[in-house]
């Protein structure tokens, strides 16, 4: 037998049609990579399941009547067995993630909290931008609002608490820091993260065949642009 290198997955029945696979209880880029690889594997092998990844867990939504045993009972056990069998023996495939570059204007009104963030971190604004654009991020999950990416990989020195007075209307495209994470507001939304810049890209478009620009597991980098480039790109982005 091959030595077990991966820790066991914990299964938890959350609801009649929901089974949670828990890989750990930390926000960790490697743990999340395992979640994404498992999700990719299951989407491939058991396409009838809906897979929803989070930081360290994967939710499966399923039709309990399809998965019930001969006695019409215990669909979660049947599904758990099928999932374990599907994952056994194949190391979750390492998928080469997509890589996206997100242009961000960090200037003036586009990054209203940049000065506060810089002061909190003991850096100047340019150093914050340099660190924010130097890092290699992974989309841990989408949530909060359609297409909102929670990105892992923020330079620890840029970690800042959320605002004490959340905004009612954060502009669409705002690039923000909340604690040790960074994210992008796809639409005008209420929010308490610190806004350090804005992207002209559209993150979510229900009319598109692929509505979300980003998916869990993607690699993301930010590239600083000036206001003129921001406006050019904004004009070129269908709304």
């Amino acid at each position: 037998m091959k030595p077990q290198t991966q820790p066991e997955i914990q299964f938890e029945a959350l609801a009649e049609d929901a089974l949670l696979l828990r890989f750990g209880e930390r926000i960790d880029i490697d743990l999340n990579a395992r979640v994404q690889a498992t999700a990719a594997s299951l989407r491939n092998r058991l396409p009838e399941l809906e897979c929803v990844s989070a930081y360290a867990s994967l939710l499966l939504r399923f039709d309990p009547w399809t998965w019930a045993g001969k006695d019409g009972q215990h669909p979660h056990q049947q599904l758990q067995a099928a999932v374990s069998a599907a994952l056994r023996g194949n190391d979750p495939q390492t998928i080469a993630p997509r890589e996206l570059i997100i242009p961000v204007c960090y200037d003036g009104e586009y990054g209203p909290d940049l000065a506060d963030v810089a002061a909190h971190c003991g850096l100047d604004a340019d150093a914050v931008i340099a660190r924010h654009t130097a890092a290699d991020y992974r989309v841990a999950m989408l949530g909060f609002a359609p297409g909102f990416p929670y990105l892992l990989g923020l330079d620890p020195q840029l970690s800042v608490p959320r605002r004490t007075d959340p905004r009612q209307r954060v502009p669409a495209g705002s690039v923000a820091i909340g604690g040790s994470q960074t994210g992008i507001y796809p639409e005008v939304l209420p929010g308490g993260w610190q806004l350090i810049g804005r992207t002209p890209l559209r993150l979510f478009d229900v009319a598109a065949s692929d509505p979300s620009l980003l998916a869990a597991g993607d690699r993301v980098r930010f590239r600083a642009i000036d206001e003129e480039t921001f406006n050019q790109l904004l004009a070129a982005t269908p709304r």
């Binding site: 609801a15 930390r26 989070a54 867990s57 909060f144 359609p146 998916a215």
Partner: protein
């Protein structure tokens, strides 16, 4: 064919079975809060493809039907009139062209469903015509209906049981609202959530039988339940995981929050319980100020009850379809 909204009511929106399959993009399911009532309204007008109906909340809308239409209203005990004539619930009714349908207040319950033969035929978004009011996805960016909205109605053959005419005419039979609309207030079945065992003893006891009040801070996303504050034995540091309709979360205030049809797809509060899916329509029919009470249940029991209801509903849908074929 279309209907115009004359008055929108308190909160009226188009809903169908919802938008499954997009949670990984951060898009929740939405859909009718009282699923069986929505399904039965559609069945009563002979719709079989999960057509969108109007979900009304506490006070219904008024609409004008440009052409003759066949409608049905189910769910909460709502007052319905067509051109001053009272319309019975839980049956279908023929409306001649130009009829004004007025849905009023509700004697009991919180949500009623207005279905029309052919369905409200707006463009589906991500496979559903449901309005997700919270995520702003659906017809007109997922907003609630407003006066002046014109809703297209899908083409359909006449219903044999209700052929044409110049008068408002309901069927001569109707469904028994029981057990689909429940007047008694039996406790809702609650499964233990991931963090049930982290509650202190008094909180566990209170949750499994104590009385809560459905807060005014309730909408299609969530209902806050006010009662004795619940406490964990020790604070928990949790990371966000997927969230579901029916999940009972415990925010730091100690007042639990029941997630509903427009639940966010992720959440980071402790999950102290999961309301049995079979009881979610009953929760959807409670009003702000109503009492809410739980009893402890198990997943096996919840599945058994859900299967039994599903069988009963399937049989009833077949019976309705057969009866509508006969004049």
């Amino acid at each position: 064919m279309s209907a115009s909204i004359l008055k929108p009511g308190l909160l009226s929106s188009l809903q169908d079975a919802g938008r499954p399959g997009h949670a990984a993009l951060g898009v929740g399911r939405a859909g009718a809060m009282d699923g069986p009532a929505w399904q039965l309204a559609n069945a009563l007008v002979g719709n079989h493809h999960g057509e969108a109906a109007i979900e009304c909340t506490l006070l219904g809308p008024s609409l004008r039907f440009e052409h003759a239409a066949v409608i049905a209203v189910t769910g909460a005990a709502i007052a319905v009139h067509a051109d001053e004539q009272q319309i019975p619930l839980w049956t279908s009714c023929y409306l001649p062209a130009g009829s004004v349908l007025q849905l009023g207040g509700m004697a009991h319950g919180c949500r009623a469903y207005l279905a029309v033969r052919g369905g409200f035929d707006v463009a589906p978004i991500l496979g559903s015509r449901s309005s997700d009011l919270h995520a702003r996805i659906g017809h007109q960016q997922g907003r609630a209906l407003r006066a002046g909205d014109v809703l297209p109605i899908g083409a359909a053959t006449p219903l044999p049981a209700l052929a044409d005419g110049n008068e408002v005419r309901p069927l001569h039979w109707s469904l028994d609202p029981q057990p689909w609309f429940d007047f008694d207030r039996r406790p809702l079945a609650l499964l233990h959530g991931s963090h049930w065992s982290q509650l202190d003893e008094a909180s566990r006891q209170y949750l499994a039988g104590g009385n809560f009040i459905l807060s005014k801070d309730s909408n299609r996303t969530a209902s806050r339940l006010d009662g004795h504050a619940l406490h964990l034995q020790a604070p928990l540091e949790l990371i966000s995981e997927a969230a579901l309709p029916g999940t009972l979360q415990l925010p730091p205030s100690g007042q639990p929050i029941a997630l509903l049809a427009e639940a966010p797809v992720t959440g980071g509060y402790p999950r102290i319980g999961q309301i049995a899916a079979v009881d979610l329509p009953r929760l959807a029919q409670l009003r702000p100020g109503d009492n809410v009470c739980f009893h402890e249940s198990t997943l096996d029991d919840a599945l058994t009850r859900l299967a039994a209801r599903q069988q009963r509903l399937t049989r009833l849908l077949e019976t309705i379809a057969q009866r509508l074929e006969h004049a």
